[in-house]
Symmetry: C2
Subunit: 394 residues, 2 copies
């Protein structure tokens, strides 16, 4: 019997408890032993539910119980998740989490603490929800992975899918996403790209072996995307997706991209996530799955529980490092699709542009490859309606 | 230092040797120790190459060397690969392989031998080449996976991609695939679906936990697919792909399918492979990668070498079982897209058909859902030009 505790029994934590019950036979076969929830730490008391007798309010009860070998931290946010995780690891209890904010902010430090105390800190559910991503990347350590890019935010992808396939405006698509529970009342973290930035920062850290902080990610959201952009995308046999992009040596960015229909990310729709990566031997590979949702995310947490069950009292390599990534310098050049009022922009961007058929009296064209800074310099004083980078190849 | 031997230093085996050299630092970090090729068993002598001094012709030299902990069997075919693998496992040497024929034919027996001798039999490279598939499925044992379907043959996918995007006939696309080295001179194993059948048989065995033999897979190839089918597919916003399909409880089949553009498999083009699966908690997930090729396949072999290096003298669960799968009975019903000469077919298939706009004086329609046997009964005596199953949802 392996006893675990769940910190925060909300959407994800509650899903973990349910999964362990619904799939108890499968979990037992996978973990090599029965997995039982002994404690739930939550501010609610779950009176009248089957969890009633499991609830505690004091983390010390959990970390001082020698039966507890694994803790699922599904509280989210920095505190008290950080202090609790630290305390658990200092007691030699392994922690797995869905908390991307904490992994980005303090994950490398928590990993060091885990290593010192012969236990582990895993975070499969923090990137891509149910997408079986980090464990797959971990089996590719023998590759030189130089590029990772992905659709990492289900809410934005849902909105962009509605805009493309149902010809909606962003505001209307956002409203539906909110009604369906995909988007928060305050959707800024999603649509301004911050959530994607946290996830690509974690991925860039893992793949480069050196820490890339969320704050260093250059971030553009989807708020300027308009129905017209999808019309131009269609002309170019492309789709528009919000991507987080890591290219070895270049700045990590989050921005909307035009994706040609020859790229595997083109057809990743609805609230799905997908992450494409390139290894020197492997070539391209992609992992696709449910980017969010109670059960898919719980399934990712439980995949960590299973791995931890097989490695009790051991530190499992998780790819995080305290060393800062200083290799990331240049901004990568991309071609841009540009919409602008009037015709001035055409001449400002020089001779090497490709003009597109005009819709709605705006001009539209594709620039030569340039950095965002070079773009801004050329665009100074012009009435640019939108610009979208073009993904040429992974 | 971990010493290994490579049996068969052809495309894949040679790729393994190269990868271990090119990525030696990465492999060392991944495996926790340096990995060295001590022997190459091959009928060639590799005179004048750096492999010259590694070549042996006698398997007994390898299995009797106590330094050898891992063998990569990249010979292909049943014999002598089977006898050599058996001999190695009996000596407590773990084996990893790219040999799908052997895995299907004798993999479960080899796994039993491995278990008895505290070593392992792994076969990541046998399905999907470089696609990181089996190791990912292994991290999902806590799920109830009831469906697996995939594009498992790069040659067929390349041919179908050319037909769709370059409006080619099958014969012309096949010729290009042969010129590019994707397809063999005798392409039957690919285009008749046999290769896909072997792979889906292995996947069905792994996911169901019980053995499904290649011979029990119902198999239709792509030889009847015609440019016209792609015209109808386009009308229906669909693509045509050769799929291997496992649905819990149903017959395992290989056949061309119409894939709607809302499905993630729709956009998997060129020689890429992709496998979509459904878990009760996870929902849908997909793994995409290079289905073949020297380096991607070698990378999959090396991922096994790394796992074996961490688990010397241990049996690693690999999902194979000697127990036969007897749950597979019914044939699943699908709707069919039908092309037929004349108008007789329309009435033969009853009132619930959806007629499509005719091209080239043939009639075309979509049937209600039925089994292949039901289809054949209705089609008796009619001049059916082609029928393609329609994938409605995973």
């Amino acid at each position: 019997m392996i006893d675990i505790a769940i910190l925060g029994c909300g959407t994800v934590g509650g899903g973990v408890a349910e999964l362990l019950e619904t799939n108890c036979e499968q979990v037992k076969a996978a973990a090599g032993d029965e997995v039982r929830v002994k404690y739930i730490l939550d501010i609610r008391d779950f009176k009248g539910t089957k969890y009633e007798n499991l609830v505690v309010n004091d983390i010390n009860i959990i970390v001082n119980d020698p039966d507890i070998k694994i803790i699922c931290e599904t509280m989210g946010g920095k505190e008290p998740a950080c202090s609790y995780s630290k305390l658990a690891l200092e007691h030699g209890i392994s922690v797995c989490t869905s908390n991307k904010e904490l992994v980005d902010f303090y994950g490398a430090e928590l990993s060091e603490i885990a290593k010192k105390n012969n236990c582990s800190y895993l975070f499969e559910a923090s990137v891509g929800g149910g997408t079986p991503l980090l464990r797959t990347l971990k089996t590719l350590r023998h590759e030189k992975i130089d590029k990772v890019m992905g659709i990492l935010n289900g809410t934005c992808n849902y909105i962009l899918t509605k805009m493309k396939y149902e010809n909606m405006e962003l505001a209307d698509a956002l409203k539906i996403a909110q009604d369906k529970g995909y988007a928060e009342r305050n959707p800024d973290a999603d649509i301004l790209g911050y959530d994607t930035a946290r996830k690509i920062a974690i991925l860039a850290s893992l793949v480069s072996g050196k820490r890339v902080h969320y704050e260093s990610v250059k971030c553009e959201g989807i708020t300027k995307i308009d129905k017209l952009d999808f019309k131009y995308a269609e002309m170019l046999n492309a789709n528009i997706k919000l991507l987080g992009v890591y290219n070895q040596g270049y700045e990590v960015i989050v921005a909307p991209f035009l994706i040609p229909n020859s790229n595997a990310l083109y057809g990743v729709n609805e609230a799905y996530n997908a992450i494409l990566f390139h290894g020197n031997m492997l070539s391209d590979a992609m992992i696709y799955g449910s980017g969010a949702g109670r059960y898919p995310t719980a399934s990712a947490v439980v995949s960590d529980v299973v791995e931890l069950a097989h490695n009790l009292n051991k530190f499992i390599y998780n790819g995080l490092s305290l060393e800062l990534n200083n290799d990331i310098k240049a901004e990568r050049k991309f071609k841009f699709l540009v919409r602008a009022a009037g015709q001035d922009a055409l001449s400002a961007f020089g001779n090497n542009i490709t003009e597109l058929e005009s819709i709605n009296s705006q001009c539209a064209f594709i620039t030569e490859a340039m950095t965002g800074a070079e773009f801004d310099a050329k665009a100074a004083g012009l009435d640019i309606k939108n610009k979208i980078r073009i993904l040429e190849a992974i």
